[in-house]
């Protein structure tokens, strides 16, 4: 049975996590990294989550195939111009590194898919390194669903290019450290790496994207959403350069909440999916009285509303009012200590390699929700 347990904090944990790269372990007086509490799962429970993520990933890839075959891009509010690139990228199977599923599961029945952060997932460093260091120091006899680090290294080795650039919006420290960690794993895979601001990416007269040294970029990992890139000037220059970008543009099909009703439509009644539709009337017609409204491209809980028989019971942060919405049946989260927990399942390549958990007093996980380490007992 899943439990929220207490443990003695490491006396020097601030220093430990900062030395490992986690320099945003709190916001003001609110902690982000939870040192003195953790989630304890059985091996069977961890494997239930792991298997669910691997199966969901396969379902998602099949859904991408259907979207492309049936030209369903308008259902995801993807314009024709962008759709052409997504389609080509999918047909070419442009290389992907990783993604994170968010699942709801209170320990009973089957886990349920809440969303797939397939394009720009963060909290990677804490999932891969920080919680593992915690486990070794606090509960060394226990296990953890966590082979993210070595899986990333192996994944980078599949790329033939030796020089890689990693870019994000430089003003955001969490994003910077996320690309720095990914670059660290690429470096350990033998790549030469450089970090840069998205704004520093150049486009040369020869038609190549360039680094600050004017040398053409061979591969670029960008922690920057494709939907933002699609409305920026350089998107018009993507053309033949498309396959140099990681995550690939086909991930736009999965990082969009519109994938949820499409998955349900393609796999009605699947035990890992929640009923989801493009209209609340359709959902209510299926006998659903509690649901969650989600903007297509919402991030970190913004724009989300929990509804009960048509009345809003809880809302996330402001934003995304102009986004189309999906309607998904409400699922019970694991709750303990007045906290609601969402499970993060990390896909590297095509299989699940890690588990993380975010907890909040609100049932909507937001950017200030706390990260909880876990152990398998």
């Amino acid at each position: 049975m899943i439990q929220l347990q207490y443990n003695t904090p490491r006396p020097d944990w601030h220093q430990q996590v900062e030395e490992a790269g986690l320099i945003w372990h709190g916001a003001g007086s609110e902690p982000y990294w939870t040192e003195g509490q953790h989630l304890a799962l059985s091996l069977q429970e961890a494997e239930t989550l792991e298997d669910a993520a691997t199966e969901l990933h396969a379902l998602c890839l099949e859904a991408c195939d259907q979207i492309v075959r049936r030209d369903w891009f308008s259902r995801l509010a993807i314009s024709d111009l962008v759709a052409a690139q997504v389609q080509t990228s999918w047909m070419a199977r442009d290389f992907s590194i990783y993604g994170r599923f968010d699942l709801a599961w209170d320990g009973t029945g089957t886990p349920k898919l809440l969303e797939y952060n397939a394009d720009t997932p963060t909290s990677l460093l804490e999932a891969s390194v920080i919680q593992w260091d915690w486990l070794e120091a606090v509960a060394p006899q226990s296990d953890q669903l966590n082979s993210i680090h070595e899986a990333l290294i192996e994944r980078w080795k599949r790329i033939p290019e030796n020089r890689m650039h990693f870019a994000c919006s430089w003003e955001n420290q969490e994003d910077r450290q996320t690309i720095a960690y990914l670059a660290e794993t690429a470096e350990q895979a033998g790549k030469s790496v450089e970090l840069m601001d998205m704004e520093e990416i150049g486009f040369s007269p020869a038609g190549r994207f360039t680094g600050l040294d004017e040398i053409p970029i061979e591969k670029l990992f960008k922690l920057y959403p494709w939907e933002w890139m699609a409305r920026e000037p350089f998107f018009a220059e993507i053309g033949q350069e498309r396959s140099r970008f990681i995550e690939p543009i086909w991930k736009m099909m999965l990082s969009n909440k519109a994938i949820l009703p499409i998955l349900w439509e393609l796999n009605p009644g699947h035990p890992l999916l929640l009923p989801a539709t493009f209209s609340k009337e359709s959902l209510c017609a299926q006998g659903v009285s509690q649901w969650v409204e989600k903007p297509f491209l919402g991030r970190e809980g913004a724009g989300i509303a929990l509804m009960n028989r048509g009345r809003q019971t809880c809302a996330g942060g402001d934003g995304y009012q102009d986004n189309p919405r999906v309607f998904q049946k409400h699922a019970n989260l694991f709750t303990a200590g007045r906290m609601h927990f969402v499970w993060g399942l990390w896909i590297v390549g095509d299989s699940c390699h890690g588990l993380s958990a975010r907890g909040d007093t609100s049932p909507i996980t937001g950017n200030l929700s706390r990260f909880f380490p876990h152990k398998i007992v």
Binding site: N117, A183, E187
Partner: protein
């Protein structure tokens, strides 16, 4: 599910540790970018620092392995002479050592600095003589663009011959250089002053120099043929999901 077989390893000299230090030190970036003026000043500063670093050794008549002097090349300490390629350079499966290519791999040179042979010193003096001639011609033509580094390079050659005057009898090039050293030292002092003033007035330049030293990379200018700024304009906070 399998238990992880090894400890998650973060390289103490890797990119993540470097990024963490950059953020904690509030440095502007991990890939130093600079104006053309920054680049020029950084080059001057590096040359001044090299002169300061090497002066005592050169005045003692010694040179480190792979020390580079323009128009002479790289010093191979074992051979006590200058050659066109660096010691141990690899090309097409061969290695360059003491003026020859060989198939046997070269181990790192572990000896200390050595004194050049009289023949090598003669070559140095001939270059020094040519450089002074070019310098004087540039002065006559009032060519103010004549590189300041030539003064620094000439000083190093002069110091080296000076340090070996007990084993080598200097000729005309050295005698003329004895007269010119005052000019070169004056030029060096004014360059030093210009760099110090520029650094004092430009905190971003100081940060760039600090990053460059820590990372072992050179400062490069952001200017070039590429257009930049075509991505990144939509960012308002984190792209996290």
């Amino acid at each position: 599910m399998k238990r992880r077989s090894f400890r998650t390893y973060i390289n103490p000299n890797g990119i993540l540790r470097w990024s963490t230090l950059c953020i904690l030190a509030a440095l502007p970036g991990c890939s130093p970018t600079a104006t053309d003026k920054d680049v020029a000043m950084a080059e001057n500063q590096a040359q001044i620092e090299q002169l300061d670093r090497e002066q005592a050794k050169l005045l003692n008549g010694e040179i480190d392995n792979n020390f580079y002097l323009p128009k002479l090349g790289y010093y191979h300490a074992n051979a006590h002479d200058f050659f066109e390629n660096p010691y141990g350079m690899e090309q097409d499966g061969q290695y360059y050592v003491d003026g020859r290519w060989q198939f046997a791999a070269v181990t790192e040179y572990e000896g200390g600095p050595t004194r050049p042979t009289p023949e090598a010193l003669k070559k140095i003096e001939l270059v020094l003589e040519d450089e002074q001639r070019a310098e004087q011609e540039a002065e006559r033509a009032q060519n103010t663009n004549y590189s300041s580094y030539h003064g620094g390079s000439n000083l190093m050659m002069y110091w080296l011959i000076f340090g070996n005057r007990n084993t080598y009898t200097p000729g005309l090039g050295f005698q003329q250089a004895s007269i010119r050293t005052g000019v070169w030292e004056q030029n060096l002092a004014s360059q030093r002053s210009a760099v110090a003033s520029y650094a004092a007035a430009n905190p971003s330049y100081r940060s760039l120099v600090a990053q460059s030293r820590a990372s072992g990379t050179s400062i490069h200018s952001a200017s070039g043929a590429s257009v930049r700024g075509g991505f990144g304009g939509s960012a308002h906070g984190s792209s996290a999901s």
